[in-house]
Symmetry: C2
Subunit: 455 residues, 2 copies
């Protein structure tokens, strides 16, 4: 038994839940399990991340949307977290849905809030600088190494692996037979740059997602609470490899992002561009998510996604919520809850991983194509005339808790409907009125009745 | 440097190639590298497999076809190996191509022949009972543990990982960034049973692939040189789990394979069925196949396939042949050969892994469907009237060295042609002559001219 837990808290009857990983999903999970009355031990290999300096350049900004908010709400954290975010009204999102918008966050701020919330439970311990050395899938016995080299043992009733895309917990799963696993790196890397405030104010308009689309690569910028912007440059690794000196960076920016040079600052740009190598992006899928009644994977450890649907954090948060719902249904019986969690959650997490990858491919291939834009236009038009039948995929994913795999299924059905409608029912007129051109679309009056949604 | 190599052979100028894994692909690779004059060190974790008893129940019989034969031919081993096989004229294969047939082999016999051939080269050492402990991707320094616990170090210029589906060499690849990897287990397992000779003769007709198709599961039997048959039962794991006692085995066989009970023997069946648990089947794909200029993966270590296209061993043998061809083209410069091998070979190995998986799905879903059989019929008909335009996929894969991914591409084109033809050009007549029914197919005279193969 972990020493500090015995000192001042009664753990004689409480089951011990070891949460491995003190990031976003680990911290939220700690709140969930603590709220249920388990003895919760959070293990994080890094030093107390609340005291640590921000590691710049390695965390893509995160957008919190409906699923994530619902998950936070259950442990009373929605308002606390939302008040620390910057609402974003990006043009792209406006055109899909005018009423709600994702909210971007720096990763660190949220983690701190969630860890602080977890710590308010008397039955929770945060153990920093604990690196997992080994653990038994049979008994739940775990061995950690502390920063100074001392070993520490703990016996867990349940191990929750929330230790990210390169999960140490998942390594044990890979040694089991019949564990399905895939990791796919995309050809793009990313690099983060900071745009400082000008005279104490944001250098560009806040509350917007700034995008510099440049065919095979792009830069985006998102506002932070400290009035800086984090600029993220996405580009194929082979392009990154061509830029090797400070002067080449300036030449490259002059060609593609001239307006960003004075805002970031030429000297900072030359320096920060090389602070870290371009970071890789990986999509991880696996199944099952559990081992016996002892261990379960959540968040990026179970399903790292590429950051092109803005759902990575939300999917991880929803994992906690779904697990919690199943714990209610099956009376906290781990031997029943864990297989049920795998059964329910795997198809949804695989769906969002596939969607994020699909978006990456679509963005590169079609973002400038007229057909793609016309399709988006038709989608929105159909949504307006049939709001209950045709719901844009983005809306289902971002603003509802429709199960991811059901959203994808419905989307495929809608795509079929859209094709049928476009090919069969529409008549298009180009009309000019007072010097402006309009596209007039006539559709048969019985079309709406003929379409019955199976959903 | 490995001790035994220094004792009696001059290695001062020869580059050292460490082949990890003394199975089929490792042994063939040893021949290839030895023939080129490298100092070859083969490391196998098991004891000398030539002296070991046959491990029954864990090796699906292997079929040698064109690609594998071509790879053996290059090192003068084709005739030796082929003479030890049993030609197979299965009905299924006859119906696709009457002239050539795959030849099944027990795994062990072939490995012995290949290891013996490798050992005839003075610049080759076979090191059994050497388990890989660690190796450096930077320097090629390798550490092995011997059976008695002693450690052994070796410095390799090139490490060739041929250590199978659960490759130890591949683990280092998984630690690198941007290594794409997937392992997918299918829901079926397999179990092997032996059918002994009767009065010194085969219990069933040899030279045939015996198949007992039973919808979601099936049994096949292949002849061995010692007049036994190896019967392999393929079945979903959940079905295997239902059979837990000897009596249940007999009941199960009485229901599905009654004719096999007296041939295997009821007592042997009860006993052997439980000798090993049902074995899992995995499909492994990864990319790249190389690390710098130091290490390359071949065979199952690079691409384990499910055994439903009979190409596993052939693909592994062709790996050696393709690598050898690239060594010729690029003058044995590892820093150029290794990336080129990845570039050329990855799409082909991925294609055969996908085809094997596709065949598994098709077999289960369609083998009893009339549409499927009709499609096969149309394929064969088209091949007869247009032998150069329409080549059955199975023929391209099994009897040619057409690159796997090109075979798949051509097949997709042919599928399209077949659909077009079936929908547009055919007129079918049912004719009765002298009590027999015939299907008469009329096709337009200009059809053949209209179809120009892009291949």
């Amino acid at each position: 038994m972990h020493n500090s837990t015995n000192d001042n808290k009664s753990t004689s009857k409480k089951k011990v839940v070891a949460v491995v990983g003190g990031g976003l999903v680990g911290a939220l999970n700690a709140c969930y399990f603590a709220k249920r009355g388990f003895q919760v031990e959070v293990f994080e290999s890094r030093e107390d991340i609340r005291q640590a300096k921000i590691v710049k350049g390695r965390s893509i900004n995160l957008a919190l949307s409906h699923r994530g908010r619902q998950a936070l709400k259950q442990v009373g954290m929605e308002d606390t977290i939302v008040s620390k975010g910057i609402p974003m009204h990006s043009r792209m999102i406006h055109s899909l849905n005018g009423t709600q918008s994702p909210i971007p966050y720096g990763k660190k701020g949220q983690v701190i809030l969630l860890l602080q919330s977890a710590e308010t439970y008397p039955n929770t311990n945060l153990n920093f600088a604990h690196k997992l050395l080994d653990w038994s899938t049979e008994t739940g016995a775990m061995t950690f190494v502390r920063a100074e080299g001392a070993k520490e043992e703990i016996q867990a009733d349940l191990i929750v692996g929330c230790d990210g895309a390169f999960s140490a917990i998942r390594k044990q799963f890979l040694r089991q037979s019949r564990f399905n696993y895939s990791q796919t790196y995309i050809p793009h890397g990313y690099l983060e740059l900071t745009m400082p405030p000008i005279n104490g104010e944001f250098a560009m308009k806040p509350n917007y997602l700034h995008i510099w689309p440049r065919n095979t690569f792009m830069m985006i910028a998102l506002p932070n609470l400290d009035k800086t912007f984090t600029c993220t440059l996405f580009m194929p690794f082979e392009e990154f490899e061509k830029v090797t000196t400070g002067d080449q960076v300036i030449t490259f920016f002059q060609k593609y992002f001239p307006d960003a040079i004075p805002l970031i600052g030429a000297e900072a740009l030359k320096r920060d561009y090389f602070r870290l190598p371009a970071q890789a992006m990986v999509s991880v899928k696996c199944s099952p998510y559990h081992l016996g009644d002892k261990c379960v994977l959540m968040g990026d450890a179970a399903h790292a996604v590429v950051p092109f649907y803005g759902q990575g954090m939300n999917a991880g948060f929803e994992d906690c919520l779904v697990f919690n719902e199943i714990m209610d249904q099956l009376n906290e019986d781990f031997s029943a809850v864990l297989p049920e969690y795998t059964r329910v959650r795997v198809p949804d997490d695989h769906a969002i991983a596939d969607l994020a990858m699909y978006n990456y491919v679509e963005m590169r291939a079609h973002v400038n194509s007229k057909l793609f834009l016309f399709r988006k236009y038709v989608d929105n038009f159909l949504h307006i005339i049939m709001p209950r039948t045709i719901i844009p995929l983005y809306t289902m994913v971002t603003f509802t808790r429709t199960r991811y795999h059901k959203a994808v299924k419905r989307w495929h059905w809608q795509e079929k409907v859209r094709k049928d409608i476009v090919h069969v029912h529409f008549t298009l007129f180009k009309v000019s009125v007072a010097g402006c051109s309009y596209l007039l679309v006539r559709y048969p009056p019985n079309m709406l009745q003929a379409l019955k949604s199976p959903f």
